[in-house]
Amino acid sequence: MTVALSARFRRGVTLPVLLLAAWEVSARTGLADPRFLPSLKDVALTAKREIFDNGLFAELGFSLMRNIAGFWIGTVLGIALATLLALSRPADRLISPTFNGMKQISLLAWIPLISVWFGFGEQAKIVFVALAAFIPIVLNTYEGMRSAPADLIEVGRALKFTTRQRILRIHLPSAMPSIATGVHLGLIYSWLATVGAEYFLAVGPGIGGLVIAGRERFDMALVMVGVFVLGLVGFSLNRLAYALESYLLRWRPRRT
């Protein structure tokens, strides 16, 4: 913890910078086919064009809204279901086997059903995104809740905690680290699904179009711009989640 923030930042950018350098070198020396690996300059120019001429940020805004809406729905429902499964044995025995089977089924396979129930529009996309966040959050929350310390549960029993209190006072806090991991995964996969939804569901505005367009036009510079933006946004979302996590877990003794 003594490592200064700036040092950590320096470490964090080391690999990306090296990667960029390696890229630029292989692009310039012709080590890599420029059709597959465009030069950084091309990418920068493409980025400029997309930002100033094609309203990249507006598109990004659409995607973000969709992502955040879906993510929240998935998170809330996921924590709710996981709580039910972790704390109610009947519900666990009843629902878990089916859930465990269903979760294996690819998100893509749900698309026909999603469009039946939610149409082709924004709603369906949000559901798709929510589903992507839902599964990792359920799994991680479930695990976290189940590993609540038995001795603290006993304290709760001695103090006659109601179900609500038991959940809020014992299971949720002790599941917090686990839920945080679930949230991270949920963020990652909901963001991927946000892009996926733009690919697999009917068209609408959004940043995913950038990558798709680049891919379809075989314009790797455009793909790279998309990849950068997607990576950057996802990364920022995750950083936010980390900040929240370390706030919620401030009770944990720090590593020395």
Partner: protein
Amino acid sequence: MAAFFEAAGDAGIRMARRRRSRVVFGVAGLVLPAALLGFWWVASAKGWLAEQILPPPFIVYETARDMIASGELLFHAGVSLRRVMIGFAIGSLAGLCLGIAIGLSQKIEDYVKPLFLAFAQIPTLGWIPLLMLFVGIGETLKIIIIAKGALVPMTLNTCSGIRGVLPKYVEVGEALCFGRWQRLRLIVLPGAVPSIFTGVRYGLTHSWTSLVGVELLASSEGLGYLLVWGRQMFWLDTVIVAMIVIGLVGFAMDKGLDRTEMLIQRWKRQEI
């Protein structure tokens, strides 16, 4: 409500009920699938959903039977299973190692995690052209993509499991001058087991999920291909058969994981 949320902690009652409950709950797990089947039956009989979208159960049954008899289903399942197994094994192992490295060393975390997170966020779709350049569109491409599906959850869960190991145990290891490997084997990994298994679970799920994406991409066999192809051809019965097989295989793997976890966490079994 309170009775529904039966207290998890009453050792005695639990133990006494265990045998009976195993039978009861074994059956309970079938209730929901049975109810879904019933609902499906009624829904298709009453035409709540178009037959093209939700074919009646017996059609799906017949399709499944035909596909089993022709060996087609087994073939596709075998292809997919192989891909998932290889990809998952590579991805989860790599994730375990990466997660351990990041979890144990702040330095490695500082260096690797930002890039890792950024990579994790980028849709496979974006990578494919580059990947194709390096590995072509053959089996390797598919396995890499499946492996990535397992890598991300495995890494994050392992890492957080390791971080969650109580300092009081870590300190015991320090006092006993454990080396890295001992610390890992005796303290960190056992303490992180639940979290790691969640990673394995979700990693497996995600391997299956990626499989479909991959088989959609450039393949003419496998369960994912059946799914996509079935949808393309509007054979929703085939799609449903593929979905059920994927679900069943996944479920069986999950059960296997449960067993393994129980075996590893013997000490917990008697606790509650």
